[in-house]
Amino acid sequence: MGVIGQSIKRVEDQRFITGKGRYTDDIALPNSTFAALVRSPHAHAAINNVDTTAAAAADGVVAVFTGADLEAAGVGGLPCGWQVDFKSGDTMKEPAHPVLAATKVRHVGDPVAIVLAESREQAADAAELVVVDYEVLDAVVAATQATAEGAPQLFDDVPNNTPFDWELGDQAATDAALASAAHVTTLEYDNQRLIPNAIEPRCAIGDYDGARDHYTLYTSSQNPHVIRLLMTAFVLGLPEHKVRVVSPDVGGGFGSKIFHYAEEVLVTWCSRQIGRPVKWTASRSEAFLTDAHGRDHHTRVDLGLDADGNFVGLRVKTVANLGAYLSTFAPCVPTYLYGTLLQGLYTTPAVHVDVTGVFTNTTPVDALRGAGRPEATYVLERTVEQAALETGRDPAQLRSQNFIPAFDGVEQEGYQTQVALQYDSGNYGAALEKALAAIGYDELRAEQAQARAAGNGRHIGIGFSTYIEACGIAPSAVVGALGARAGLFESAGVRVQPTGKVTVFTGSHSHGQGHETTFAQVVADGLGVGIEDVDIIHGDTESVPFGMGTYGSRSLAVGGTAIVKSMDKIKEKGAKIAAHLLEAAEEDLEFAEGSWTVKGTDQSIAFGEVALAAYVPHNFPEGLEPGLEFTSFYDPANFTFPFGAHIAVVEVDAETGVVAVRRYVAVDDVGNIVNPMIVEGQVHGGITHGIGQALFEEAVYDDSGQLISGSYMDYVLPRADDLPSFETDHTVTPCPHNPLGVKGAGETGTIGSPPAIVNAVLDALWPLGVRDLAMPLTPQKVWQAIQQAS
C-alpha cells in the first residue's frame, strides 16, 4: 500500500484551480442584506452620543443598531477562553469586551454601530451618515508605557492596565547561576507586532430561519464548534442546538481566524432582528484594524555561560502587549505557549521567565502562526548566537555542546524541562549536523573569511536557529490546570458506507493545510481503501461531531489520531464480522491491504464485503449491532515537540542596507511524515512568514494610536521576488505517544526562521562593529547601524 509517506497530489485542488472553491463571501443567500460597520477613528475616546437618524433614513437602509441597542437586548461581551491569574494569586482581570462599544472606544477600528442595507453600496454610504460624538482621550500604545505612572487607563477596574502577570521557573536558582556565570549575554528588544493578513478577509453571514427558530452562521473560521459554543453560551445566550455554524473553504487563517469576533455575533443577532440574512465582508483596511494581531513583546534576556561555554542560567522578562481587550486565547500566548518553551534544546539548568500582560489602545493581540513559540525561539536563538559572537565561539558548536542528548521517549524517558514541559522525543544534534552538511558550512565560512580579507564590500553572514516547539495542543487536563476554559481534544467520525466507501467527519478544519488529502491517506492506509474512496467532511457543526478545530499544528497529531482511533474500532468490529463470514476465530484473522485473512491460509474477505454485510446483516454475528461507523474523541497524552535546525546565508549591501537572503536551509523533524509534499509546502510558507517578520513586516502605530501601516502600501508582505528558493530536508524522530508518530508541521518555518535571518545579518556586520539590530531589519535600520558602528 504505502499510502503514508507518499506525496499524493491534493484532492482539494481540483476546485481551487478551477475557481470552484466556496469561501464564505462566495455564498449569496436569497433576500440578503449587507452590513457595514461604523468604527472608531480614535484609539481612545468616550462616546457621548451616537446619532443614527440620517443613516436610518438613507436609501436602502433596513436597520441601524448601536451598542446601546445591544446592551438593551442583553447581548453579552466577547468571552476570553483562557484564564491566567496573577503571581499573587489574584484572579485575572477580565474587563468586558462589548460587541459594539457603547460608552468608550479603546482602539482604532473598535465597532460602534452596524448598518444593514439592501446592498453593499447602500450600507457603505449610510455608515458614513452615522454621527458619533467622541470625546477624545489620551492613548497609550507601547507595551512599555502601559504601566508607567500617569499612563492613560483603559478600564476603571484594571489598575495599571495589567490584567495578569505570570512567572515560571526557579528565580533564585537562575539569579544565582547568572551571578556566578563567566559571561552573561544580555539583549533587550521588541519582538514587533505583526498583522496576520490571511489573503481572504474575514466574512460572516447570519441567517435566521423563523419557521424553525434556527440560526445559521457562515463564517471564515478555523474552529466552527468553538465559535458556536462561545457565541451561544457566553454572548447571545442561544440554545446551542438551534445554531449551526458553517465554515466553508477558508482562505488562510494563520491563527487570526481562531478567535470569536464581534461581527459573527452581530450578523447572527441582526438576522434575527430583521428576519433576513445579513452578510458582512471585511475590507482589507478593516482586516488590518480588526483581525487580532500577533507578537508585540518587549523582552530583556540574560543568558549566563560558564568558562567552557556551557549555559548555566537563562532569565527572561517580558512585557506582552495584549491590545485593547482580551482576545479569545490572548492570555495563553505570552505565557504557556511562550514561557514553557524557553528551555529550548538546551540543558540550561536554571531558567526563569517573568511576563506581564498589558492593555494598550491598539488592536487586540492573540495567536499568530507559531503563537508564543516564535517569540520564545527568538529569545533563545538570538541570544545564543549573540553569546557565540561575543565570546568568539562557533555558533554551531556552542549550540551542540549545550544540546539535550538524543532520547526517543520509549527506551529513554522524555526530557523534563525547567519550565514545566516534558519533551516527547528528540535528536537535536542530528538535525543540526544534517543542516550543516546541506549548506556546506566549512566552505561557507571559508568564503566569508575570503570576502572579509578581500575587503570587497561583500558582507556575507551565516545565521543559525535550532528550535523546538510544542504542538498537538493539548492534553485537556494539563491545559485545564493551566487556565484553559476548554478541552483540547479532537473528534473524528468515520462512517463506512455499505459499498465500503468511507466518509470521515473531522473536528479539525483545513484553512489550506490539505486535510482532505492527508486524512484520506491516513484512512486509505488504515482501511486499505483507495484515496478516492475517502471523503473528508469538515467545517460544519451540523454534520461533524463537536471538535476543537485547527491551530497550533494539531490537526494530524490530534485530529489524525482521532481518525485512527475510530478506524481501530471499525477494524475491531469488522474482524468480528469477517470472522463470522469466514467461519474462523477472530484471533486467527489478520487485517492487511484491505482484507481479513485467516492466518496461514488463502481464505480472506475484503473490507468492502464486510462493510456490505454490516448494512445487509442477513448473515451476522449474534448480538452485534448492524452498521460500521464510529466516532472517537482523542485527548492527547502530551504535546508533541517538533524541532529543527535552520541556517540562513545572507549578503548585506552596506551601501543601501538591503539584506538579500542568498540561501536558506531548513532541516525539520516533525516526526513521521504522511505527505512529504504537503509538509514541504507548510515549511516553505512558514519560512516565508518568518522572513517577513525578520526583514519586512511591522505594525506601526503613531503616538496617538493610529495604525500607520494600515494597508499594503505600507505593510510589507513578502513577495515572490523578495525570496530565494528554500532547501528543506528532514530528520525523523517519531512521536512516541500517538499512533501515527507525527508531531506537527504547520508552524516550524515561522518559528525557526526569524532568528536565523537576524543572526545571519549580525554575523555579516559584526566585524563592522554592529552589535544588535531590531526586527524588521529594514534597509534604513541596517544602514544606520552600519553608520553608527563605523
Binding site: 497530489k9 484551480i17 478551477t18 475557481g19 478577509p201 473553504d249 508582505l717 515572490a720
Partner: protein, 154 residues
C-alpha cells in the same frame, strides 16, 4: 445613473445595466456568479482579483464594470477548454502550488500573462512576473515550480 454594458465572459455574452461605481470584480462575482475571482485588498496590491481582460492580466478590483463594456474577459472558470484543464491549472496541482486556494486564481492568471509574453522564463523572471500577487500560505517556491512546469508542458 446606470450604464449599459455588453461583455463576453468565458465565451458567453452578457448585457447588463450597471451602476458606474460597480467594480468589474463585483460584477463578475455578484451579477454573473463567477466567484472564482477573489477580493483580497482595497489598494490593488494583492492580485487575488486578477482576470484576463482583452488579453491582459488586470486587477479587476480596480476597474469599473463600465470600463469593460465591449471587452472579452476570461476568469479562472473559463480557463479550462472543453473540460480540459489549462496546463497552468494542472501544474499548480502537480507541484503543490497552492494551499488555501484563495490567491490561486489570480496567481494563475498572472502566470498566464507571463507565459503568453515569455514562454521560457527563468526562475527570476517568474518571481518578478508574480510581484503583483500575494500568497501567504506557500512561500512561492512551489508556485514558481508550477509556472515552470506549465512552461515545459505547454
Amino acid at each position: 445613473m446606470s450604464v449599459a454594458i455588453k461583455v463576453t465572459v468565458n465565451g458567453q455574452t452578457h448585457e447588463h445595466e450597471v451602476e458606474p461605481r460597480q467594480m468589474l470584480v463585483s460584477y463578475l462575482r455578484e451579477e454573473l456568479g463567477l466567484t472564482g475571482t477573489h477580493v483580497g485588498c482595497d489598494t490593488s496590491n494583492c492580485g487575488a482579483c486578477t482576470a484576463i481582460v482583452d488579453g491582459q492580466a488586470v486587477k479587476v478590483c480596480t476597474m469599473l464594470a463600465a470600463q469593460a463594456d465591449g471587452a472579452e474577459i476570461t476568469t479562472i472558470e473559463g480557463l479550462a477548454a472543453n473540460g480540459t484543464l489549462h496546463p497552468l491549472q494542472e501544474a499548480f496541482r502537480e507541484t503543490h502550488g497552492l494551499q488555501c486556494g484563495f490567491c490561486t486564481p489570480g496567481m494563475i492568471m498572472a502566470a498566464w500573462q507571463l507565459l503568453e509574453r515569455n514562454a521560457t522564463p527563468s526562475d527570476a523572471e517568474v518571481r518578478h512576473a508574480l510581484e503583483g500577487n500575494f500568497c501567504r500560505c506557500t512561500g512561492y517556491d512551489n508556485i514558481i515550480k508550477a509556472v515552470q512546469h506549465a512552461a515545459e508542458s505547454a
